[in-house]
Structures are given as C-alpha cells and as structure tokens.
C-alpha cells in the first residue's frame, strides 16, 4: 500500500468529509458495532429482558394516562398498539442519541492512541440501538396479532421511516458527541432532552390533537414525522401523515446532519488534545 501518501498539516476552515477514507475503514465500523452489541448483552443477563420490558412498561403507563385518564382520541385504533407503534422509533431515537452523544468521551483511550476517522464512533453507537429495536419489533408483531391489527404490505415502508429515524439520531448524536468532548455539561443536557422529547413528541397521543395551524411548526421536531410514519405503516390509512410536515422534519434532519458534520469535522482535529 506504499502507493498512497498522506500529507499531515494543519487544516484550516471547513473540512469536508473524506468518504473514500470512511470506506477504507468500513470494517472497523462493523467491528465497533459488533463490540458494542456484544458487550451490551453480555454484561447484563437481563439485557434482553430489559430491552423488552422498558417499552412494554412505558406503553402500559402511557395507555393508562393518555387513554384511560386523559381520554385522548385514538382514531379507532387499539390504544396500546398506537402507543407502541410510536415507542418503537422513539426509544430507538432516544437510546441511539444518548449512546452516540457519550460515544466519543467513552472512547477516549482509543482516540488518544490510534488514528481512524472519528465519525465512525458516533455512527456505530447509533447502530447499537438496532438490536433493541428488533426486540421491540417482535413484541409489536405479537401485539398486532393479539389486537387483530391486520398485517399489510405497507409495513415494508417501515424501513424507509426507520432510515429517517436513524439519520435523525445520528445528526443529533454528531452534534452532541462533539460538544460533549469540549463542554462537560452536555452530558446533563442530553437526558433532559430525552425526557422532554418523550412528552413533546406524539408518543402518548396522535398528532391530530395538535391544532391544524401549529402542525407545520410541530414538525420542526424531526421525530414527529417519523412517528406519524410508523403509525401509518402499522395502523393503516386512517393515520396518513401530514406530508408537508413530514418534509419539514426531513429538512430539519438534513440541516442538522450537514451542520453536525461540519462542526464535528472542525472539532475533530482537537479531540485528542482536549478529551
């Protein structure tokens, strides 16, 4: 491999992403994902149980509060399924975002000893959340079967909305992981966002309850479009998303992703010095 030459010097200004280099390091990306998953389910025997229990309990509580006490509308769908359909992307987003925000600081030793494109770290942390998501999908299938929700080909569209959720988590993770290296108080902000976000996003209720004139604004929260999309795939046409709003969500994600990548790359050169 002597045919390639690297020039090491101070970089200035905006640094673009080196996709060719990322591709060279694809195996490391998979290895890190594999490690995180392995460790996560090795350390705790109840790891799998917990991955299943957490959304189940949240679903029960939300159904009780929003449906039984709050009497929120359900568009005729079984409320537990309605909540669980939203929890699926939300939990993935919340876990993936939290993990990737902490990922750089947690990899301190690696960052100060070995070179590789640092983008791999928050990206592989987001991947880790997929296993939990798959466990939840199994529960969802059981619930749909139990509540007589028909299985339609539209379920295949879930993959598309999942990719959007993945990008949302990655874009936020990019920002916070880089900020976390520099500022010590970011680790307190992230759990706060997760907790608030769970109530601001339409997890316990359907987005139709938001007044029509605010819906555009409401979709600035990128997870609104994703959650609406998940409900639509799982519960059918009655839950048709508000597509203009969905485009807003996508736009917000794209902006977060681009600015996050720029910020990350500009901070990358000092990671090893300040971490």
């Amino acid at each position: 491999m002597a045919d390639y030459e690297r020039v090491i010097k101070a970089r200035k200004g905006i640094v673009s992403i080196d996709f060719a280099e990322l591709w060279r390091y694809r195996e490391l990306f998979l290895f890190l994902t594999w490690r995180d998953i392995l460790v996560r389910y090795k350390q705790t025997y109840i790891g799998v149980t917990w991955a299943a229990l957490q959304p189940l309990l949240t679903m029960v509580i939300f159904t009780a509060i929003f449906s039984l006490v709050g009497k929120f509308p359900s568009n005729g769908a079984p409320y537990p399924v309605l909540v669980f359909a939203a929890l699926l992307p939300w939990q993935f987003f919340a876990n993936a975002m939290t993990e990737s925000s902490q990922s750089l600081v947690a990899s301190e030793r690696m960052i100060t000893k070995v070179y590789f494109p640092r983008l791999i770290i928050p990206a592989s942390a987001v991947m880790t959340g997929i296993v939990d998501l798959l466990i939840s999908v199994l529960i969802l299938i059981a619930m749909m079967w139990g509540f007589n929700v028909p299985f339609t080909p539209r379920l295949l569209m879930l993959l598309l909305f999942f990719i959007v959720a993945f990008l949302a988590a990655f874009s936020v993770g990019l920002w916070f992981s880089a900020l976390n290296v520099r500022y010590r108080d970011v680790k307190y902000i992230v759990p706060f966002i997760v907790r608030m976000g769970m109530y601001i996003s339409p997890v316990g209720f359907i987005s139709d309850v938001v007044p029509e004139r605010y819906r555009f604004l409401y979709n600035l929260n990128p997870m609104v479009g994703v959650i609406d999309g998940f409900r639509w795939c799982i519960l059918g046409a009655r839950f048709e998303p508000y597509w203009e709003g969905f485009l807003v969500s996508i736009l917000v994600i794209i902006i977060l992703l681009i600015t996050g990548a720029i910020y990350f790359r500009s901070m990358e050169r000092t990671f090893a010095d300040v971490i």
């Binding site: 491999m1 002597a2 390639y4 030459e5 690297r6 020039v7 090491i8 010097k9 101070a10 970089r11 195996e27 490391l28 290895f31 890190l32 594999w34 490690r35 392995l38 460790v39 090795k42 350390q43 030793r109 690696m110 960052i111 100060t112 000893k113 070995v114 070179y115 590789f116 900020l179 500022y183 010590r184 108080d185 970011v186 902000i189 050169r269 000092t270 090893a272 010095d273």
Partner: protein, 415 residues
C-alpha cells in the same frame, strides 16, 4: 535516490497552557459570548492578547526517514517525543509545518488499545486488530500465530478480565506485533512484561525491521534497546531537534546533557505531571566513590492539596537497565498528605553504594491522588572507582556488570 518514506518539515505544535479554561462548560461559554456582546455594545471590549497563554511542545522539527531505517527518538520527559509520534500517527494535528508519510503507518503508542474487559481473548484480537488497522482476512490469517506468540492458547475463550496482567500485556503486544504496516511506531512498549517476554519483543522488532525491511520509529529510555535496534537517532530537547545522527554519538550527547543539568546544585524546576514540581533532587557527594555512603535530598512542591501514596527513586544504568529503587513510602504505611504551602522534603542515605563505576540515571515514580507515572532521566549520578586494595589491576567496568559485591575469599595456595 529513493524518496524518504517520512519527511518532516518544520513541524510545530502549540498547546494552550492551563487546564481550566474559563469556558469549560457550554453554559459558561454561552454566558461569555453574551457578556462579550454586551461589552462590545458598551465599548468595554478588549481583544485577548494571543501568545502569552500558549506553549510550543514542538518547534521547527525537520528530518527525513529512509525506507527500511530504524530511527530512534530519545530525549527527556516532556521533550516532545510522544507529541511527535502522535502527529505522525495523525492522532493530533500540528499547528504548523508539514509531514509526508508514504505508506501505511501503525502505532503502538500503547498496547491494548480498545481491549474490552468483558470480551474474550479471541474477540479482543479481532477488535484490537481492526482498531490497529488490520483487515478481517488479515486477522484470520494471523490468528493462530498471534495466539501462539502471546502464549494464551488455553484462555483464548476466557474474558480478558480474568487474565493475569502478564497475559493481558502479552496478548495486546502480540496483536500489535503482527501488524504489517510499512512504518511501525513504537513507544516504550518494552517497559511491559517480564524480561523473557521483553527479549521476545525485541527479537520481533528486529525481525520486522531487518527481515521485512520495515521502517520503525522507536522511542525508548532504554539505551541498550536503542543501540541494538536503531541505525540512527534523533535527539529531542525541549521540543527541538538537538541532534540527529549515529546512535552512539547522540546517546553520548544525551547522557552528557543529562549530567550537566542541575546535577551539581540539585536545583530543579522539573514538572512531575500536572500536580507537582520537583524543586530539588540532589545526590551528594556526586560523583561518589563506589563503596562509600551517598546522601540524597528531595524536595517536591505540590500545586494544590493532594496526597502521595507511592514515591520511589529509580536508579538506571547508562543503558536503561533498572538497577534498583529507593522506596520512599512512609514506614507507617500512610500517604504523604501535602498542601500548597507544605512541600515534601526528604533526606536520606544509601550506605556503601555497591555499584560499579560509571554513570547512573535517576528517575522518579510518583503515585498520587491524580495519577501514577514514571519520570525518567531527571538527573544522573556518577560513581567513581574505589581504590583497589589488591595488587592486581581491577577488571574494566564493562566486564564487571553493575553490582560491586563486598566479597572476600580465601584459598589453599599461599606463597
């Protein structure tokens, strides 16, 4: 002539001084921005003066490394050796200058990077290999070789948290030793493991450099390892290239400087990590005659309230073999509790110093609340020959090793 595999041109690295910045938290930073804007509007804003809060860890570093060469890098703690390696490994960016690296470079800045306690030996080999830049197929191909080199066959499916520290280090080094980069960067790895394993590592490095024509950058305080392995040496001093050339010449220059600095007075301003400054470390008399008593004095000033649990003076031979230590832990087992206005002062004595004449290098090991670390080559002690009590001429020092025994004998042949 072929192009050098590494060319370094005017590399410099500037660090910001001081650990606690005013805007270490996002909240403080935002507050600062708001107050700055306020100051701009009220006309009280002054730009910060640049330059006074920075320190150059490296400056004007220029040298070439030819393909297949084994280049040693020597210098005292804080001379910039590790920073230089980090720049060449792309872990940190230089502030100025440019380096060209023509080939795959792998660094063994610290073995075991990315090892995870919960994972088995097998899993860690794959993970660590990937982190160090090996492809999956490469790792599979070399897997058996790595396991055999590390001597951990029986425990390969045991989580490494159950490994002994020796096994752990062996496995970590084994993975690193089987990398096949064009350029290998090695920093002090030989400080780990037992003597037999260290020899094995030296052998492996020799094989790598001679057998496969690989280029090696080797940083060590062990001068005999540098002598054995390297063809040329770069001597760094206070962030600059003090000398570059043949091994023996540079080692001699280094040891000469080491003896010159503060040895006679014992006065220092030597940083022992972030928390302490070594103000005095003096051996008297220096030079000392072999077999006589030598006194030592040590003064350490803390920059904040802290405790020292372990403190040892490390004595090395010229070539970096550890001769012995002076254990300065309190006899009652309690730590030294220090405060900013209460420095640590220790005086003591080594009785009838049993060393063969020559120069000995003095280091310190400090284990405090904040960190534990070795500091090499702080000062040096010269030991002079003692008057021979016999009629025969003493053997040359190089034949007599390090220890001068206080031995006596009788024989059956008289007259």
């Amino acid at each position: 002539m072929e192009e050098p595999i590494i060319s370094v041109r005017g590399i410099g690295k500037r660090y910001r001084l001081g650990q606690t910045l005013s805007n270490d938290t996002l909240r403080d930073h935002i507050t600062e921005i708001v107050s700055t804007i306020g100051k701009i509007f009220t006309g009280r804003w002054r730009p910060r003066k640049a330059g006074d809060e920075y320190i150059w860890a490296l400056k004007d570093i220029t040298f070439d490394v030819e393909a297949g060469e084994v280049l040693g890098i020597i210098g005292r703690n804080g001379a910039g050796k590790s920073t230089l390696l980090k720049i060449l490994s792309q872990i940190t960016e230089p502030t100025e200058g440019e380096a060209r690296v023509r080939g795959r470079l792998a660094s063994l800045l610290e073995v075991g990077t990315g090892f995870h306690q919960e994972l088995t030996g097998r899993e860690n080999i794959f993970l660590n290999g990937a982190i160090l830049g090996m492809s999956k197929s490469e790792i599979i191909k070399k897997f058996d070789e790595i396991v055999a080199f590390a001597e951990v066959e029986k425990f390969i499916d045991t989580p490494v948290k159950r490994y002994s520290s020796g096994m752990y280090v062996r496995l970590a080094f084994a993975v690193a030793a089987h990398l096949e980069p064009e350029i290998l960067v090695v920093d002090e790895v030989l400080a780990v493991g037992d003597a037999a394993f260290q020899n094995k590592c030296l052998g492996k490095m020799q094989e790598v450099s001679r057998g496969y024509g690989r280029t090696v950058l080797f940083v060590s305080h062990n001068m005999s390892a540098i002598q054995t392995l390297c063809g040329r040496v770069v001597y760094l001093n206070q962030g600059r290239v003090k000398g570059i050339g043949p091994v023996q010449e540079q080692i001699t220059a280094y040891l000469r400087d080491l003896k010159g600095d503060g040895v006679s007075t014992g006065e220092f301003d030597y940083p022992l990590g972030e928390v302490f400054t070594l103000k005095n470390l003096k051996f008297s008399p220096n030079p000392v005659v072999s077999g006589t008593d030598v006194n030592f004095h040590l003064r350490i000033e803390p920059k904040k309230d802290t405790s020292i649990f372990d403190l040892q003076i490390l004595i090395y031979s010229v070539y970096g073999v550890r001769v012995g230590i002076i254990d300065l832990r309190r006899p009652d087992g309690n730590p030294y509790i220090l405060s900013q206005n209460k420095p640590l002062e220790i005086t003591g004595k080594i009785k009838s110093l049993p060393l063969v004449e020559g120069d000995y290098r003095i280091g310190l090991y400090v284990y405090c609340k904040e960190y534990y670390r070795d500091f090499y080559d702080i000062t040096a002690v010269s030991v002079g020959a003692k008057q021979s009590s016999t009629a025969s001429i003493p053997c040359k020092p190089i034949y007599r090793g390090i220890v001068e025994f206080d031995a006596s004998f009788e024989s059956n042949i008289n007259g």
